[in-house]
Amino acid sequence: VKNSSARFDRASLRLFYRLLGLTLMALVAWELWAGRWGVHAGVLCGRRAVDVGAYSTFWLAVEWSTLALSGAALALGRRRGLAARAACAAMVCSVSQAYMNQKALLLIILFYVSLAPPDPEAPDVERRAWPNMALIRWQILIVYGVSAVAKLRAGFQTGDALRGLFEILARLPAAGWIPAHPVLRLFDAAPLAAAAASWLVIVAELAIPVLLMRRPRWGFAAVVLMHAAFMAFMPGLVVFSLAMLTGASLFLA
């Protein structure tokens, strides 16, 4: 198993911070486009993890500004520790207002970084162990592993859930790069296709953690491929995919 230690090289840490910064900026851009402002203005209906009430659009602007500025600082390699901690605080507020897996994942990553942000430019950065950054690797393995097991337990492999998902995608006002209707027609004509596609997803989610641990470059490529395939149908997964790539980049040490 490669990368089983908690040591990281400068290049992979720099790449990680750049990707993290880009992901935070992408999240803000995504939320602007998705219309989260309308939720806080009382026009659209959002989803909350805890019923704390939606804060005003002013505080939403503060949250977005904090995330975007922190993201820019991380991407440019400026004041990384401060930026990660500021983004972590803003993400706590963001998750309380609109719960989504992508934000939960980013919050976990930011929290782990904030515990002891490594400075890639420090002379001893490669000699020291960074167990908090190793936790991010663990988190990526956990997400794929839990997702695969949850799917098997829920009977995802029958293809019914995937078909149901495409029914939802067909109702969405913002279609993916590949429209859902032809796929839905294919699943109706050949139910085995839905089951086969479901198995493919489960097998990929089980295989990627193994690849990331044993063949990190192949694993990283598999993460890119799988999430690109998901995004082709579900544009809403862009930020989640970037967050997974950010975490997976730490396997490239």
Binding site: W30, C45, Y112, I142, A150, D160, G164
Partner: protein, 106 residues
């Protein structure tokens, strides 16, 4: 924080993380976890406004929102009742969400 303290803290966090995920797998979708569309309930429903026009709940939600189960559907309809009185009286026909009729009625 010393290196040893950080290492111990990270071990505890990892164990807690794994325990939470195991619990989430046991209790299912009642608590947030990494199910990733593992359960998608079939929802045959029809929602119309006071003029008989079809209402697509996704038109009133931010992009990237998904209604994956009956509870989310009920929450979305309830929000429509609150935020969009101009649509009332709404009519919801759904075997899973109770008798057909106005979901906004008290």
């Amino acid at each position: 924080v010393s290196d040893d303290a950080l290492r111990r803290l990270c071990r505890v966090l990892l164990v807690l993380n794994l325990l939470y995920c195991a619990l989430a797998l046991l209790v299912g979708p009642r608590i947030p976890s990494w199910g990733m569309f593992s359960r998608v309930e079939r929802m045959d429903y029809s929602l119309t406004d006071g003029r008989g026009r079809t209402v697509n709940p996704y038109d009133y939600m931010p992009r990237g929102s998904y209604i994956l189960d009956q509870a989310s559907m009920a929450a979305a309809v309830s929000c429509l009742c609150r935020a969009h009185p101009e649509l009332r009286p709404l009519r919801l026909d759904s075997a899973a969400l109770g008798p057909a009729g106005d979901p906004c009625a008290p």
